[in-house]
Symmetry: C2
Subunit: 378 residues, 2 copies
């Protein structure tokens, strides 16, 4: 058996040669890019790539699959270079260049949110637009319609860890309407146990709230052996408890709902976990990209092929961009099988980031740039 | 400018050398593995890897980041080889070897599900366990408690595209209880517009259902200009409409709820999209891995570092394993910042798959094998 030092010396020698060859191959990729630009030839040549991968599999012997993986990365990186040379994704570039950095806002700005007064959506809306008079909509869909029809300038919607719906519902609507995300807010959600003013803690026998809020407060509810009843949302629970006039009832709701429906606080921080937060986004018909924007959201389709997601992530990874969220969703009856929602840190002022977006907008089916925005934490 | 043919000849020549060097480097990795096995040295040497990556960045020049990416993959593949040689992940291996292929079931088997009779969960439970008498639980948590306490043998829970909760809620509970997924079912969800027997379609003015079901049926609801009221779930809406005795009301609910509450069908396939399905899983305290299992579910933590997810996916991709689902979630107050839920196609009878699971169980924080199971489609 060889000594570790001896093996590592051989590895170092191999690595030196590998790097030089890789650099030479990237130079060749540039030459190919220039040739394709001059002759107006598309960047992707799937037949040529498949030919190389087939050859690599055979030559790689027992390491065939691993070698294929390496070469699919090399070709991915080559294509990225070539897209930059050719200047792919002109539409994407124009979209970014024509965006405005300042989000207009004054007390006449109309902001739509789903639910009723006192819902978490209402609270988030007032945090982001403190002077506005929110327009309450029945559904997420109605929020989008209000913006589409010009009845609202912006909409505020929950996208993560919310009792009101899933990320994909909201993202689907953003894609359908071709709207943009222009801001996000992470809001801590604290629940109160609240009753009509005449009631006291020892009177309570039954608790009303949204099923997810009941679940988030299950420790104390179980410890007190309360009966529970499910409501459509936490503000509705608060309103219904207020209207019931019953002293043995309490709602699990937020502080705005307590105020809105004149309830009495019986207990604070009723949630099991004190770090409970919900992410809200602001949507807009027009694209705004603030100077300090730090998060980019994308959506794209991928075929059901081994390694395709991996190949796309290669592009982000090679630029040192941090993914902060990824979510896949199966699509039925589509030319691609998966839809991906992806967030990463970055700003389009960084030329490399814009080049990446331009290249991906050319290469990926159903590619959508959802926005580049600031993240706030309340 | 060089001709394309000429450039490709140089590329082919480079590729030949690259493959040979890569094979030599993998042979070296094997030698390192054997040395580490003999001397009981841990596989991962982060300092050595960082040293190599720093060096590669400098040597790579304008391709420094791309070269780093390539080398992080090479080291990832080397580590995979070394883990196989050392035989990492003994616990994981034993867990798989001690699992049983046959899921015991007869008419006395006790199956828990959340909700009330007529809910989609009930329908899914009867599809999977046709002869069982389902035990209805108030919450997902109660389903887990019933299994934990031995009151139920299995639980049936929705995990995707459901009105009842999110994937991560269910997965969190699976992890907390250390249960396993032993089966999945994709069930098409069709909604009915249903009323009390005395009502007719032209009488209807108001529709009750869960907010998500209302959204899924919004086309026809909007077209008819119906008022809507949100219920805690679709079966509750059906029950409440039945109890109301009002002829101007209808519920949006499934076929079981129609039967359960003696409603009259006013319209079928009320949903906007005919391909609406929900995925259900069966959970169990004991691990069963059927012979024909085709899907593997995992969960693991990752630090907030560029490319870590990419590196892990490299391992799957190098074995040609198809990812079918990926979802990230931010963790607060944890030694890692992200938790990933991942599904891929495979069976532990494939030795390469078991080796991968054993290696990942050693390398990744909070690694959990959630199950290897058959997928059914109703």
């Amino acid at each position: 058996m060889r000594d570790l030092k001896e093996i590592r010396e051989e590895i170092n020698e191999i690595d030196e040669k590998l790097i030089e060859l890789f650099k030479r191959r990237m130079e060749c990729a540039k030459d190919v890019g220039n040739y394709k630009k001059a002759n107006n030839i598309p960047i992707l040549n799937q037949d040529r790539e498949n030919e190389i991968l087939d050859d690599v599999l055979v030559r790689g012997g027992e390491y065939g699959y691993a070698a294929q993986l390496l070469f699919s990365n090399i070709m991915e990186l080559s294509r990225a270079l070539q897209h930059n040379i050719v200047g792919s994704g002109k539409e994407m570039k124009e979209l970014i260049e024509n965006s405005s950095p300042n989000i207009p806002y004054n007390k006449n700005t109309k902001v739509a949110c789903q639910g009723i007064a006192g819902a978490n959506n209402h609270e988030a809306t007032l945090k982001i637009f403190p002077d506005c008079e929110p327009q309450f909509c029945k559904s997420f869909k109605d929020v989008f319609m209000a913006i589409e029809n010009g009845e609202a300038d912006y909409g505020v919607l929950p996208v993560e860890n919310s009792t009101a719906g899933s990320v994909s519902d909201v993202y689907d609507l953003i894609l359908k309407h071709r709207f943009y995300i222009i801001k996000s807010l992470d809001l801590p959600i604290h629940y109160y146990l609240a009753s009509i003013p005449q009631a006291n803690l020892e009177d309570i026998e039954e608790v009303w709230s949204h099923p997810q809020a009941l679940a988030q407060c299950s420790d104390k509810i179980t410890a007190n052996n309360y009966k529970t009843l499910q409501s459509a949302n936490t503000a509705v629970a608060a309103r219904d408890v207020a209207n019931s006039k019953r002293i043995n009832l309490a709602a699990v709701c937020n502080g705005s709902a307590v105020k809105e429906y004149g309830l009495k606080v019986l207990a604070e921080n009723y949630e099991n976990r004190s770090d409970n937060t919900t992410r809200f986004i602001v949507i807009s018909k027009k694209l705004y990209i603030p100077e300090n924007a730090e998060k980019i959201s994308l959506c794209f389709g991928l075929p059901h092929v081994t390694g395709t997601l991996y190949s796309v992530l290669c592009r982000f990874s090679s630029l040192g961009l941090n993914l902060t969220k990824i979510e896949s969703r199966t699509m039925a009856n589509k030319p691609f099988e998966y839809l991906f929602y992806l967030d990463f840190t970055g700003n389009v002022k960084n030329d490399e980031v814009t080049k990446l977006l331009c290249a991906l907008s050319t290469e990926l089916p159903e590619f959508s740039f959802l926005g580049n925005y600031e993240e706030d934490f309340a």
